[in-house]
Symmetry: D2
Subunit: 423 residues, 4 copies
C-alpha cells in the first residue's frame, strides 16, 4: 500500500503541474486512457462517451486547436490524441468480471480552472516543484479526484477475483461551470448502472471525515449574454448609436429584481459585465456572465425563463440585438441514503468518521445528472465527500490539499465496490 500511496502522490503532482481546463483535458485524458488500458480495462473515450449535442460552454475550435498543440508538447500520448483532439475528452474504463452481479460506477472529474497559481514560497506546490506550468490551476482538487479514480482502477484490477458484476470508472471533463456531465449521460454512459457514486475532496469537511448523501445541490443555468448595438461618436452623433451599455445596465438591474419565489430558494447573479470600446463612443457591445439557480429544477426554470424575458426586453428597449448562450447547466438531486449508509460501513473500516450530509442548498454540481439518471432507472446513487486539510479555500490561488487523504479515499471506494458487488 505504501507503494501505491507514493504512486498516487506522484500522479497527483503530475496532474497538478499540467492543468487543463474543461473540454481541453487532452493530456490528462490520454494518460488516464493509457493507464486504464495497461490495467486491462476496456477503454472508451471521446465521442463514444460524450454526446456533442449536450456539451455546454465548449471552447471554440481555435482555442481547442491551440491547446492540442500544447498537449502534444507537454506529454500527451499520441496514441489517444485522435479521439480527444476535438475536445471530447471524457474517458470511461470498464472492468467486466464476467461473474453475475450489479454494475457499479464512479465519477471523477479532471478539469482545472483559469486561475493563476500562487508563486509564494509558502505554497507547497511551488516549494515541491509541482506548481502549474501554464496559466491554469487545479484549484478545486480535480487532480486528486482523477488520481483517486486511477488508484481505484489499480486496486480493482489487482483484486479482480474478489469482485463480481461490472465496474465503470467515469472520468468526466468540464465539471467546472457544470458543462460536461450531461453529455456523458446523454451518451448512455450510466444506462446500465445500478450503483453510482460521485466524489469530491475537501469542501470544508475535516480531515479523516467522510460525508455522503442528501447534498442540497442547486439546479443552475449559466448564461453568456451579449448585446450587440452600433457605435457612434458620443459627442458628435449620440443618436446614431444603438446603445448596448444601456441595455446591459437595464438587464443587470432587472435580472437581480426577478421576484423571489415562495416555492424555495433561488439565486441570480450577473458576475461579469464588459461593455463598450472607448469613453467617447456609444457602446456597441456588452457581454454579461449570468448565473441563475433554484432549489430544484422547477425553480431554476422559473428564474431562467424570467431572465430570458428580461434580456429580450432590455435589448428591445434600446433596439440592440441580443444573444443568450447556455454555457452550463445542472439539476438538483437527492442522494440515496441507503447507498450512503453502505459507504459509511466501508469508510469506517478505513478509519474515517462518517456523517449523513444535510447541507443547505448553495453550490451546484453536474454529477446530479448521473445521480438522477441512475435513480430514475431504479438504481442507487449518491454524492460523497472525503475531508482533507485545505491550505486555502476552493478556487483560491493558494488552494492545496493534504495528500494523506488520497489513499483512504481509494480504499473506501475499493471496499465499497467489493461490498456492493458481493451482494
Amino acid at each position: 500500500m505504501s507503494d501505491l500511496k507514493s504512486t498516487l502522490i506522484e500522479w497527483r503532482r503530475d496532474f497538478h503541474k499540467h492543468p487543463e481546463v474543461g473540454f481541453l483535458e487532452m493530456r490528462t485524458a490520454s494518460l488516464v486512457a493509457k493507464r486504464l488500458t495497461d490495467l486491462g480495462y476496456e477503454v472508451k473515450l471521446g465521442r463514444e462517451v460524450m454526446n456533442p449535442d449536450y456539451c455546454m460552454g465548449k471552447p471554440d475550435d481555435e482555442e481547442t486547436a491551440e491547446h492540442y498543440e500544447w498537449a502534444k508538447e507537454n506529454g500527451a500520448l499520441e496514441e489517444f490524441l485522435p479521439y480527444l483532439k476535438d475536445g471530447y475528452t471524457g474517458v470511461v474504463g470498464i472492468l467486466d468480471t464476467k461473474a453475475p452481479g450489479p454494475t457499479v460506477a464512479y465519477r471523477v472529474d479532471m478539469d482545472a480552472l483559469p486561475i493563476y497559481e500562487s508563486t509564494e514560497e509558502s505554497h507547497v506546490p511551488k516549494q515541491k516543484d509541482f506548481r502549474s506550468v501554464n496559466n491554469y490551476m487545479h484549484a478545486c482538487g480535480h487532480d486528486a479526484h482523477t488520481t483517486i479514480g486511477l488508484g481505484l482502477a489499480t486496486l480493482l484490477s489487482e483484486n479482480k477475483d474478489q469482485l463480481r458484476g461490472k465496474i465503470k470508472l467515469i472520468f468526466q471533463p468540464a465539471e467546472e461551470g457544470v458543462r460536461g456531465a450531461r453529455s456523458m449521460v446523454e451518451a448512455g454512459v450510466v444506462d446500465d448502472v445500478d450503483y453510482f457514486m460521485a466524489l469530491h475532496i475537501g469542501t470544508g469537511v475535516p480531515f479523516n471525515e467522510f460525508l455522503a448523501s442528501n447534498n442540497g445541490y442547486l439546479a443552475t443555468s449559466k448564461l453568456d449574454v451579449t448585446f450587440k448595438g452600433l457605435a457612434s461618436h458620443a459627442g458628435g452623433h449620440p443618436e446614431e448609436g444603438k446603445n448596448a451599455m444601456l441595455a446591459a445596465a437595464s438587464a443587470v438591474l432587472n435580472l437581480h429584481a426577478i421576484p423571489r419565489h415562495s416555492g424555495g430558494s433561488t439565486r441570480v447573479n450577473v458576475g461579469e459585465l464588459h461593455a463598450g470600446s472607448g469613453r467617447n463612443v456609444i457602446a456597441d457591445s456588452a457581454s454579461l456572465k449570468v448565473e441563475i439557480r433554484g432549489e430544484n429544477s422547477e425553480l431554476n426554470a422559473y428564474m431562467k425563463n424570467y431572465a430570458e424575458e428580461v434580456i429580450k426586453g432590455a435589448a428591445l428597449m434600446h433596439q440592440v440585438d441580443y444573444d443568450i448562450k447556455l454555457v452550463g447547466e445542472a439539476v438538483n438531486a437527492v442522494g440515496s441514503v441507503k447507498l450512503a449508509e453502505k459507504m459509511f460501513q466501508e469508510a469506517e473500516k478505513v478509519g474515517l468518521k462518517c456523517q449523513l450530509e444535510e447541507n443547505k442548498p448553495s453550490g451546484s454540481e453536474d454529477a446530479t445528472y448521473f445521480i438522477n439518471a441512475v435513480q430514475k432507472q431504479g438504481g442507487y446513487a449518491t454524492y460523497c465527500v472525503f475531508g482533507t486539510n485545505l491550505a486555502a479555500g476552493h478556487h483560491n490561488e493558494k488552494f492545496d490539499i493534504d495528500e494523506e487523504s488520497i489513499l483512504p479515499a481509494v480504499q473506501t471506494l475499493f471496499e465499497t465496490t467489493k461490498s456492493l458487488t458481493a451482494e
Copy 2:
C-alpha cells in the same frame, strides 16, 4: 369704444366664471355661435369644422354626457347644443365681404384647465365675483382669447364696408394638451386661407408690448402609457404576479436615458406615475403620463419612436401588457416675418411697442398645425402675443390678466385685417 370695452370685460368675466375644459366647451361654444350669428356671420360648428379622427385625448362618453348636463344647467344655448353635445366644440365664423380680396383667418382658443381657482380675497376674480363656479379654471387666459375673438367679430361686422375678401374667425377647443387644432386643420378649416394669425395674451410679455413671429415652439407628443400585469400576494406568492411596478420603473429610467440628439433640442418627461393597489400586493397596473418634445418634428419623431421601444421592452421584461395612447401632439413652426411686420405697423398705431420674437424653444402650441398648413399652400402665418400684467404665472391658481389689454388687442387685429384685405 368704451362701450365695446365694457362689453368685452363683461364677456371675459362670464367666460372666466364658467370654465370648460378641452372638448367640453359646450356653453362657451354655444355663446360664441350665438353672437357670431347675431353679428351676421355664417357659422359652422361641431363635426363640420372638426375631423373626429384627429381629436386627441378627448374625454370619454360618460364624462362628455355629464358635462353636457352641466352646460345645459349653466346657460348653454339649446339652439346650438345638438352640434356640440358629442364634444366637437369648435366654431368658425365666416364674414364674406363679397369684394375680391384675400382670406384672412384668426385662431383663438376656448378651453380652461383642471385647476381649482384660488379662494383668497386678494384674487381679483374672487373679489369681483367672477371666480369659477366649478372645479376648472381659466388659468391661461383663453377666456380673454375668446373675448378678443368676439370683440374682433364685432368690429369687423360693424365696419364690413371698409373690408374686402373673406374673414374667418376660428374658435378652437382643447388647446391645452395640444389636442384640438389638428382636427380643425384636417377638416379643411384653413384650406382657403391666405393670412393666418394665432394669438396669446401674457406669457411674460410686458403690458402694452406686442410680439410676433419666429416662436420656437417645440414639436411634442403626449403619451398615456399603461402597464397591465397580475396581482398576487407579495409575501405568499410573489412569483405568481406580473409586476407592472418593475416595468414602470424600468420605463421611467430608460425613457429619461434616451440619448440626446445632435440635431437639436429634445425633451422627455414622465410627469406622473401611479402604480399598484396595496403595500402587500404585487402591482398589477401602472399608468404613466409621458411627454416628449423635439426642436422640430423629426427630433420629436426620434424621441417618440425610441420611447415606444422603451415601453415595449419594459413590458416584455416583466411579461406585462402595455398600451400607449397618443393624447396630444403638436408640430413646430416658424412664423412668417413678413406678416409679423405687417402686424407691427398696425399695433404701433394702437400704441403697442413691437418686437420680433426669437424665443429659445421650450413650450408647445398646436396653432403650429394651422401655421404650417397655411404656409404650405403659399400663405403667410404667424403666432403673436399681446403683453399684459399677470397676477401670477400661467397655470397658477392665482393667474389673472389685466383687462386693459383686451381692447388694444382687438383693435390691433381689426386694423391688421383692414390692412391685409385692402391689398
Copy 3:
C-alpha cells in the same frame, strides 16, 4: 347556549355594520369596554394599555378627530370616549378569580379595512342588512374575533367559580398593517401572563377544523417612503427641477434587486407608487408603500437596512429629500407545541378536527410580539385558527364568514381556560 349564539351573531353583525380602521376603533372599543364592565371585569383602556411610543402608522390628528365625530354619532358610548378619543383604542378586561393559579390571556383584534363592501344582493351582509354603513369593511373577520372575545368573556364571567388564577382578555387595535400589538406589549399588558393565545378565523382552514402552533409568520417592516424634489416646467427648464420620479424609479428597481439571503426566505415589495403632479412638470414628489419581510427578525433587519441604504442613495442621486416612516412592524414567532396540544384536547371535545400547523412562511401578524414576550418570560404562547366557510378570500369586498363557527370557537377557548387554570 342558543341564547348566547344568537347574541353573538347579533353582536358580530353590529360590529360588521360599523367598521372602524386601525387606531380609530372608538365605537367598537367603547362597546367592548361597556360589556366587560357589565360582566364584572376590571377594564383598562387607552394609554393605560398602549405605549404611544410604539404605535406605528397611526392616523394623524385631523383624521382621528374626524372619526371621533363619526363614532359619537354612530353609537359610541360617551362614558368611555375620553380614553379613546386620541386613537389609543386598546381595551383589556381582567377577571381575577382570587384563587391561586396561572394568568391566561387571549388576544382578539378589532380593526377593519379601507375596502368598500360589495353591494351585490348575493352578499349576505347586504341581504341581511348589516352591510357597512361607511366606506370601511370588516373583510378579514375581526368583527368575529371581537365577538368571540366578548362571548368568551361572558362564559368566563358566568362560570367564574369553575376557574382559578387570572384571565386577561386583550382587545387589540390596528392589527392590519401590524401596527398595534407592539404598543400593548410595551405597555406591559402581558408581563404577568403564563399562557397566551391569539386567534383568527378562516385563513383557508375548513369549517369545523382547528389549527394551532408553529405558524411561520414572517418578520416584516412596512415603510412609507417619500421623495421630495422641486417642480419645474419639463419643456422650459428641466434642469431647474429636482426629479423625485427618477429617484423613485431607481429606488423601486434597486429595492427589488436587494440580494437574496442564504439564511432563509426574504421578501420585498413596492406595492404602491404615486409620483408627480402633471405631464409637463418635473415631478416634485413621489410616495412609495414598501414592505419587506424575512423568515426571522435577523433576515428582516438585513432587508430593512439594505432598503434604507437604497432609498438614501436614490435620493442622493437626484438631490431630492427623502423620508422613511415605519408604519408597521412584526417579528416572527414559533408557537408552543405544548400549549397547542392542550388546546386540541379541548377543541376535540367541542367537535373540532385538530392539526398542528406547519405553514410555509408567507404572511405576517403582530400577535408575534405577544407570543415572543410571553415565551421569553417562561410562559407558553401560540397562535390558533378556527376554520369556517368563506364567501370570498380575506380582504375581498365579498368576504363573509359562516356565523356557525363563532360559538364553537368561544366554547373551545372557554374549555381551554378552565383546563389551564385548573392545573
Copy 4:
C-alpha cells in the same frame, strides 16, 4: 522648398512609426527639443512648461518607467530624457527676434492613440514601411502636427531677419482625452502671447481647403469612476457581498437620465464598463469611463455636478466605496474672427480655399484653454484646420493623411507669422 517637403515627409513617417501616447511622448519630445535647439531656439521642456497639478489622466509611475525604457531603446535622445523621464513631455521653442513686435504662438500636439494599426497591404504606412512599431498608432494626425511645427520652426529660423517680435512654438502632450493643455497654460506658457493659433489636419475638411475660427468645441470632463465592493459566493452567501455591479448599473442608467438643460446642448456617455471577476461571484469592483459635455463650461459643470451625485448615490445604495478621478477636461472657446481673417489672407496666397467655420458643437479640444487664456489677456486666438484627403476617419485603424497637405500648412503659418509680426 522641395527639400523641406521631403524632410517633412521623412520626419512625419518617423513620428508615425514611433507613436507614443499622452504624457509618454519622450522620444518625440526629445527629437523636437533637439531640432529646435539645432535651429537656434531657446528650448524649455518638462516641468518648466507644465504645472504637474493640472496634468489629468497621467499614466502611473510604473507605466511611465516602462515606457522610458522603450524610448531609450527606440531612439530617444539621452540629452533631453532627464527632463522628460517623469512624463512631463511638453516642449516650447522660443525665437526672439529682439526687434519690437508682438508675441505669436502656435500649438501643435504630439500624442498618439492606443489603437492597433492596420496590417493590411492597402494601408500606406504598411506598404511604405512606416507602420507603427508598437501597439499605439498616430490615428489622428498628431504626427503631421508635430512635423508642421518643426517645419514652421525651420522656415522661421531660416528667415528670422524678416520677422519682428517673439515666436513661441508649443509642442503639447496628451491632447487625446483633453489632458495636457491646461498644465501648460497653468505653467504660464502663453502669459505673454498676443496671437495664438492651434491647428489640426483633416477632420473632414477637403484637401486644399482651410478653415478657421468659431469652432463650437464643447466643454467636457472625462471621469474614471470605480466602485469597490466585496466579493462573495453568489450561490452560497449572496448577502455577504457588496455588489459593485448593481451600483454600476444604477449609475449608468441614471447618468444617462440626467435631465436635459434648456441652456444648450449637453452630452453624457458611459463609454466603457468593466465589472466583476467571475460568473458565480458577487462583483466586488466595477470601473466606468464616463464623459460629459456641455455647450459651454456652465452646462458642463451642471452635468459634472449631477454626475457626481449620481455616482455617490449609486455607491450608497449598495454600500460600496467609490472613486471619481478627473482624467481629462476642456472648456469651450470661440475663435477670434479677426485673427481667422488674417490667416485667410495668407492661406489664400498659398493657394488654399478658406472659410469661416461655424460647426455645430460636437467634439472637444483642450486648445480651448490656450485660446481663452490669450483672449482673456486681450490677445487674439483661434483654432484652424488644414484639409486633407483621409484614407479613413480619425481614430480608425486605417487612418492616414495625404502628405501633400503638410507643406502648404507650414507655409500658411510662416506667412501668417510674418504678417502678424510685421504690424
